[in-house]
Assembly symmetry: C2
Homo-oligomer: 738 residues x 2
Amino acid sequence: MPEPSPPSPAAPVVLSPSAGGIAPSEAELARLGRIGTDWQRAIGDRASWQGALPVDPTLKVGVGQGEAAGRFEPVALADAAGQPVVEAEGPPAGLASRLRRVLIGPPLRSSAVVQERMRKLVALPILGSDALSSVAYGPEAMLAVLVLAGSAGLGLTFPVAAAIAVLMIAVGLSYRQTVRAYPRGGGSYIVATDNLGRGPGLVAAAGLITDYVLTVAVSTASGIAAITSAVPSLAPYALELGLVGIVALCAGNLRGVKQAGNLFAFPTYLFIAAVGLVIVVGLVDAASRGFAAEPHPPVVATEGVGLLLVLRAFSSGATAMTGIEAISDGVPAFRPPEWRNARTTLTAMVSALLFLFVGTVVLVQLEGVIPMADETVLSQLAHDTVGSGVLYWVVQISTAAVLLLAANTAFSDFPRLLFFLARDRNAPLAFLRMGDRLAFSNGILLLTAAAIALYVGFDGKTSRLIPLFAVGVFLAFTLSQSGMVVHWWRGREAGWRRSLAFNAVGAVLSAAVLLIAGLTKFTEGAWVVALLIPALVLVFSRVHRYYMGVRAAVALPDDEAAAAPRRGRIVPHRWGDGAPGDGAGGPGALAGAGSAAGERADAPDELALMTVVCLTTLDLPALRALAYAASLGQPVLAVHISPDEDDARRFAKRWAAWGDHLPLEIVSSPYRAVVAPLTRYLEALAAQRRDLTLTVVVPQQVAGRWWMQPLHDHVGRRLHRALRARPGIIVTIVPFHL
Amino acid sequence: MPEPSPPSPAAPVVLSPSAGGIAPSEAELARLGRIGTDWQRAIGDRASWQGALPVDPTLKVGVGQGEAAGRFEPVALADAAGQPVVEAEGPPAGLASRLRRVLIGPPLRSSAVVQERMRKLVALPILGSDALSSVAYGPEAMLAVLVLAGSAGLGLTFPVAAAIAVLMIAVGLSYRQTVRAYPRGGGSYIVATDNLGRGPGLVAAAGLITDYVLTVAVSTASGIAAITSAVPSLAPYALELGLVGIVALCAGNLRGVKQAGNLFAFPTYLFIAAVGLVIVVGLVDAASRGFAAEPHPPVVATEGVGLLLVLRAFSSGATAMTGIEAISDGVPAFRPPEWRNARTTLTAMVSALLFLFVGTVVLVQLEGVIPMADETVLSQLAHDTVGSGVLYWVVQISTAAVLLLAANTAFSDFPRLLFFLARDRNAPLAFLRMGDRLAFSNGILLLTAAAIALYVGFDGKTSRLIPLFAVGVFLAFTLSQSGMVVHWWRGREAGWRRSLAFNAVGAVLSAAVLLIAGLTKFTEGAWVVALLIPALVLVFSRVHRYYMGVRAAVALPDDEAAAAPRRGRIVPHRWGDGAPGDGAGGPGALAGAGSAAGERADAPDELALMTVVCLTTLDLPALRALAYAASLGQPVLAVHISPDEDDARRFAKRWAAWGDHLPLEIVSSPYRAVVAPLTRYLEALAAQRRDLTLTVVVPQQVAGRWWMQPLHDHVGRRLHRALRARPGIIVTIVPFHL
């Protein structure tokens, strides 16, 4: 069977709830028709089946929506009294779902998915918060490395910062090309898959996944540092505050926080303004004293100045660029002409980023500020320039807010990436599922768990998390921009040489940073990411292979495949018709007939069925299960499991009194177990006739309250678990409600 | 219906695996016969059913055991090739069960339950280890209170110890009466239930349960203290060592450690000999200096001498008596004449206990020893008398060993008590179940968990656990001996006055200790027990009431009860016969017919059945489920759940191509949920015909490996959980193995 190709990654990106579905091909419909022919023969006239339904399946009685509903029309639910069920009620109300309702709000209809279009002025803060907020930790991370070499190290601040600024420009120009080429949205996963193939795409996805998790962890750690810098008395609770922040983001995103433009625009613009003000005031101050740098506090050099130190400082400082790719990801969210507006916004964002980054670094030198354990560099700069009044608080609060927004960006990008991965069958299908609130709940929960693990594992310290950061980010950058190089080379549209050059420069520089970060930070934590990324790629590949196997297994067999096993089939035989049993021919006589014979999509008359009722006693639930089994109209065998002779005798006495209406076997269980011997007995029965489908009926007392459940044994459930892997055995639990 | 009375607690104590079973009464057999008559009418000749079995249920083919097996004979299991299954194999071998096999050994047959009879010399160490080992902590606990009042307090050691010695004699004499009256074993629960009623019996059981848990915790803590006294460098790992000890006891008991006489006798006798030697050497030493007491180290009095202090010291010291009741519990384990041998052993044990207790206390005074944080009193005494050589090590090792044995006693008594409670339906039936190794695994695991919680919660410190101990012990003593008073008063056998007097004194003194311990130790930890005991009694009562309710619910209805609802029944109607559906009469039309109508033990022809197949797509597993549903011979309805219009259209197209052989309804799920709308739809269907039994068939892909399971959704399982509480709906999962 040809493997159905996954939807092209270049196809329009629609996050609809049924995006996982595949339209039926002509061949598939033809196969369905052939299978249906067998049914026609087996069940004869359809009307006789349909007329026998004892209930009205449309539930339309009394609902009266006025519209004549065809057979394939969706039905509206009516309750027992015929009243239409109000759809907004959603799932049935248990305690858990009521709690969930309070926490994340009422469910939203699928039709509530809307594609908001953003103005540039709104898009800049929304898509730019991640990149711009990086200024809060990037320069500080760079300085924290340089200061290890004392004054001599700090003297290298400008050259290193200049290299980073060049990198920003190069990557920014490179992404401008991506925006033009992928007006439908060009995330690294899509661009890499599209141009370099599935493997590099998965590597890019793995890099992005670590990137998103680290964005949450680092932004939270850095945001909390902004708060504890301003309120040192909160410092002992920094870890707890960060956890509260991550959980709040999770809850907010499960609610499906709309990316309300104004709400998001305000802190980002405030942050740009506040830090800009700090820079300007600082420069004016410095100008008044002739740009003479104030001396920094005395520092002890613990390392010499060397290439390694410079490279480490460079790769730490490069984290100031994280998030720069967000706009190329979100092109479809712009108003038309999308790609042009996105490009303008990208240029504006990179300019703002450059201004903040360079301004901060210059001011650090002028004010003689060095990184300290209990106060962020940005907070020190604010203290030095605008004092400790209202303006200082504005700087700190807007910093914390914009970092929170950056973390929030990851909460919308991460589940979306998993959606794409799941759509291409590289990740569990559970990530395709939209929750009540149209949010990808599973992705959000996974991100929360991973971010908390990382945040707590690295003690909530920005400085300890930074070494992990650059690897994933620049891996994704490199693959995405290499993909673009291939894209231009293949397409050779107008101006392809220029675009290819920009992307090539971006790719080479990104690759250089990736290499530098991976090598110099390996022992400081980058090894975590270096192990994680191949592990993730392996998981994606295994999941993909598995789903492809499943797809082949459940697909309808085509003609040749269907014909082959059929030739060797057992003669169709229906047991319910009272045909004499020939099963006594001996166990294993038919064992060669193929173990999954009972699981083919045969017409109903080709299934050989038998019902086995498993009983531990002969009470009302047991008699009920017997009645149910007998009414299925197949041969019935009752099986009793006895721990000892006394018990077997008691059961036999009751059975005889009842009238011995069904064949009974008593299975002795010398080890007192119930499920294990039953499993073996049923397997031995099934082994006699491989084509047989056994329906195993087990009575089960169901307690009224959940806390009463442990007072009952759960033979049915355990039997179901034990027999799950066994083809041809179906376990049916017949509940008896107390 | 009359409530079947639980087996009398005075009945012979047999721990057989089917002890929970009740022999059928004549009335019950008659009821079964009447129900069978309905079946006779419904299914006609039994032979036609039996002949139709497609397999040989006896599995005897090829096994050839030579014996002609009757229909009610237990069958021996044969595998697919007709080879008999070796019974010793027990449960099927998964990784978990193989691991378990290594840890706790192969399963044992029920017939391996043997009642070992013990000689007195073996019984003394086995049943006496608990009481005798109490000497390791009882005197120390007493001194630890008295030392709070400095020298003046320590001066009261003798009077307090004398009171405890009197108490020991009184309780010992009292239990001699119990041994005579209850040759079958007279545990506190049984004696209290038997003579005072169910309520006091449950209170005694609750007291015993806290007693057993504390025995494990205190003995472990004290045993570890004996070890760390000898090897102070182990002190930092005391808590961990104790946990290892408890877990080792748990594992050993899950293996079903045989109480091998020699193994148990050795440490106990060694302990008696070693501590006896310490006492004798100490007394000889003291005699050589004219019994002049050595001065104790200077102590600072933090409290004055007062009645409260004395009472607290008394109730702490009384923990030296814990375990004294063990012999009266274990009378049936003695060789005949059981009660006389048990009585002799009891006297010997109390004598040894008195000797060790009084000797220790006297020696403490003579040697001027006071309790210290890092060395036990017993270790100090041993150092002072036999030095630090081999003899010292013998004392410490035998002390630790006998304390371990004492803890082990609780591991056999606790599950046995729960067995009795479960047999009388006061505790979950799971405690009736004997594990693979004939041990009551559930009770052992529960005790382990509770003991670990207590041990860790109180930091593994004997001194912190002691205040909790006396309450439960003396509560059980009081109730047991009060019960004996009632017993003698009722029976008035020969010599009843004397026995009654002994028991009355024992009861009054025990009650006094209970009161003293409860009041003086309340704030130090006794409140835990004071809360726990009523809570346990409440749980026992609720469990009992629940099981009695279940018993009434599942019992076969007698004539009047059965006749009453039958009169109002719906006309029997079998849907599988192709009778025209009259269900269109409207939803709710028959809603008054009683919600559990479908769950009565009716004959098969009185059940109205319908099958609903729930589909999300139309692939091979789905077609298989449809074929299975259709072959059940009942009316079939297919239901598809669609998240949106696109999906509904795709499904409808496939369905039409297949041939539209069955009625189909498409349920729209605007909130994308699958299970919730299906549940509502099915409930609405069922509400139309309350007498209908719906079989809900759900296809389920089953992955080959467990770790692949999360890659599939589990609609069937979730549906089953959601519909569990709903009468008349049976969920059948049709597996499709990949």
